[in-house]
Amino acid sequence: MMSGAAMVVRALKDSGVTHVFGYPGGAVLDIYDALYAQDDVKHVLVRHEQAAAHMADGYARSTGKTGTVLVTSGPGATNTITGIATAYMDSIPMVVLSGQVPSMHIGEDAFQETDMVGCSRPIVKHSFLVKRAIDIPKAIAKAYYIANTGRPGPVVVDLPKDLVNVLESHPYEYPSDVTMRSYNPTLKGHSKQIRKTVDTLVNAKRPVLYVGGGAITSEASELITELAEKLNAPVTSTLMGIGAFSSVHEQFVGMLGMHGTLEANKTMHNADCIFALGARFDDRVTNNVEKFCPHATIIHVDIDPASISKTVAVHIPVVGSVDKVVEQVLSQLNKKDLTEQKQKLADWWSQINSWRDRKCLSYEKSADVIKPQQVIEALYKHTNGDAYVSSDVGQHQMFAALYYPFAKPRRWINSGGLGTMGFGLPAAMGVQMANPDAVSVVVTGDGSIQMNIQELSTCLQYNLPVKIISLNNRALGMVRQWQDMIYKGRHSHSYMDSMPDFVKLAEAYGHVGIKVNHPSELDDAMAKCFALKDRLVFMDIAIDQNEHVYPMQIKYGAMDEMRLSKTERT
C-alpha cells in the first residue's frame, strides 16, 4: 500500500526511468514530496518547462531510452507543448507527466487548470487522463510501452491532484506485461514485398539508399552498412538520419534535400531505384513532388503505414521496422550472386564521382572574418569527430549537418521536423546527463541561444560541462538569407540591435566565456575550450554576416535543381 504520489515515483522506477526533468508547482507537490529523499529516480530541476521537454528529448535521442518530464498543471503543462511537438515531429520517445487540478474541479476553470489532454492531443502519440489512483501504475507502464514501441513518440499522462494525495494509500500493482488489443505495430516486412524489394535492388543499375531517422530509431546502422556494401550502392541521408550510415564511408554521398549536397540530390534524381529506409519524403527533401525522381522505382520501408505514399506515391511499400526489414532483405540477398555488382555499377559510380568533383561544399576563407563553415571544421578537428553535437535551428544547423561528418548514430541531435529554436542547449544538457563522460556540444546562433538561455543556471546546478559553440552573426541568419534571396535584401526584423555580452553573461551564470573575433584566434580558442573538460564554455564566435548556406534547392524545381552559390545554379 502506498500513496498515489509514491506510486508515480515507484512506477517510474519500474519503467526503467533514471532521470526526470521537471519543475514543481501546486498540482504536483505531492509527487515532489514523494521524490524527496529517494535515489531511484534522479530529478533535474530546470528553469523553464520547455527546456525540460527538450532535455528529456536530448536524453532520448542520444540513448534510445524514453525521456521523462514532470510538470505542474496549467502553465507548467502548456510550457512543454513546444517540446512535445518537437519530439512528436521527430518520433522521439517521451513521457510527460503533468499535474492536473483535483478531479472534482476539472471543468470549473480552477486555478492553473488547462485541459492538457486536449491541448496536447494533436502532438502526442497518445495520452491518458488517469481517473483512479489504483490505475496510476498501469497508465504509466502503458505510457512507456506506447512511447518507445512502433513509431516512437511523446505520451502525456495527466494526473489530477486528488489521485496523488500523500495522505491516502492504495495497493500498488505494476503490470508484468503490457499488451493492447488495439495496438500491435508490425515489425517484420511482408515476405512478398521483401521478394519484390530484393528483385528490384538486384536488377537496379542506378540504385541509392535513402536513409532516415527510422534507421537510427531501430538501431539498424550495422545492417544498413552491410547492405550498402553488398550492393555497392551509394547512400544518402536525411537531416534526421545523419549518422545512421557513416558520413566518412566512401559510399556516402552526403545529406539530401533543401540544403543537401549536389551529389546526393543528383544521385536521387537520376536513380532508377530508391530504397527508402525509415525516411518520410518530407517537403524539405522532395522539393516539387511532381518533379520528384522521375526515373526511380521507389521502395519505402516504414513502421508507420501512414507515412507510406503520404506525399510521394511509392511502388513497393514495406511496412515494418528498418532493422527487421533490412535483415530480411539481407538474408535473401545472401542467396544471390552479387560478385558482378561492383562492375555493374561502375558507370553509376563514375557519374556520381563527377558530381562529387564539383566540390559543392567548398567555400572561400577570408583573412579577416571567420566563416561559419570553418568553425564547424575546427570543431570537428578539436573533438576528433566524436562529440555529441546538438544543434539549434537556422544556418548554423545546416552548417553543422554538412561540415561535421558523423561516423556514428545518435551523435547528431537536432530538431529536424518542427525546427524549434531554443532546442539546442537543453538538448545538449539532456545528452550530457545521459552520457556524463562524453563531450556534449551545442552548435547555436545568437538568435537560438537566447530562446532558452536561462538553462545556463541549470548547467551550473548540475555541473554540466556543455560546450556552447555560438555562431554570432548579429542576425537571424536563415531569415536574412531568404530575405537576401527572395525579398531583395529587405532585412525586416532579422537583426538584433541590443545583443548581450555573451562572455559576461556566461560568467554571470558561473561559467567560462570566450569571445572569438578573428580567424587567427579560432584554433587556440577551440583548444582552450575543449581543454576545460569540467566547465561549461560559451564560445561567442563572430562570423561573417553575409554568408549563405549552399547548396540550396530552387523552389518548385526538381530535387537536383539547386543554387550552388550566390551566383551559380545547376
Binding site: R121, H126, L129, M180, S182, A306, S309, A313
Partner: protein, 165 residues
C-alpha cells in the same frame, strides 16, 4: 467521391475527440458522423461519411488506424453494403388538408408519425441519405418544416464481411 468509413475503437473517454481531431488537423471533410457503443460495451463503433480522392481516403483510413484506441478501420464503400440514416422531422400540420397530404407522403416513404399535437406532426423516417433528403423536400413542398434532426449514416458490409475483434 463519397465514402463511408467504419471504425471499431475502444470505448474510452477521449477516443472520439482523437478521431475528430485527425479530421480537423489534417483537413479532411466530415459530412456526417454516427457513434455509439457496440453490443460489446468495451467497444464503440463509429461511422463517418466523408469525401475525397483515393489518396485522401487512403490517408484517412491510415491516420485513423494509427490512433492507439482504434482496433479496425474499413471503407464500407469499397464493397457492397447496407446503409441507413434516421431523421426526425417536425412539420406544421394545422389544417385537415395538410394533415392528409402529409399522411399520404408518410405512407409513400414508409415513414411514421411518432408524435402529434394540435399544430404539428413529428415524423420518423429511415433510409439512405438520398431518401431522407427527398422526404424533407416533399415536406417543404406541402407545409412548413419546423425542425429536423438526423443521426448521420450507419452501415454494415453485406454478406460475410464484418468488423469485429
Amino acid at each position: 467521391m463519397r465514402r463511408i468509413i467504419s471504425v471499431l475503437m475502444e470505448n474510452e473517454p477521449g477516443s472520439l475527440s482523437r478521431i475528430v481531431g485527425v479530421f480537423s488537423q489534417r483537413g479532411y471533410n466530415v459530412d456526417s458522423l454516427c457513434v455509439a457503443p457496440t453490443t460489446d460495451s468495451s467497444l464503440s463503433r463509429l461511422t463517418i461519411v466523408t469525401h475525397g480522392d483515393d489518396k485522401v481516403i487512403e490517408q484517412i483510413t491510415k491516420q485513423v488506424n494509427k490512433l492507439i484506441d482504434v482496433l479496425k478501420v474499413t471503407d464500407l464503400t469499397d464493397g457492397t453494403h447496407v446503409e441507413r440514416e434516421l431523421m426526425l422531422i417536425k412539420v406544421a400540420a394545422k389544417t385537415d388538408l395538410v394533415r392528409s397530404e402529409v399522411n399520404r407522403t408518410v405512407d409513400i416513404f414508409r415513414a411514421q408519425i411518432v408524435d402529434t399535437d394540435a399544430k404539428n406532426y413529428t415524423i420518423q423516417v429511415t433510409g439512405t441519405s438520398d431518401k431522407l433528403d427527398a422526404f424533407a423536400q416533399a415536406m417543404w413542398a406541402q407545409t412548413e418544416v419546423i425542425e429536423s434532426s438526423r443521426t448521420g449514416v450507419c452501415g454494415l458490409a453485406r454478406g460475410e464481411k464484418s468488423l469485429r475483434v
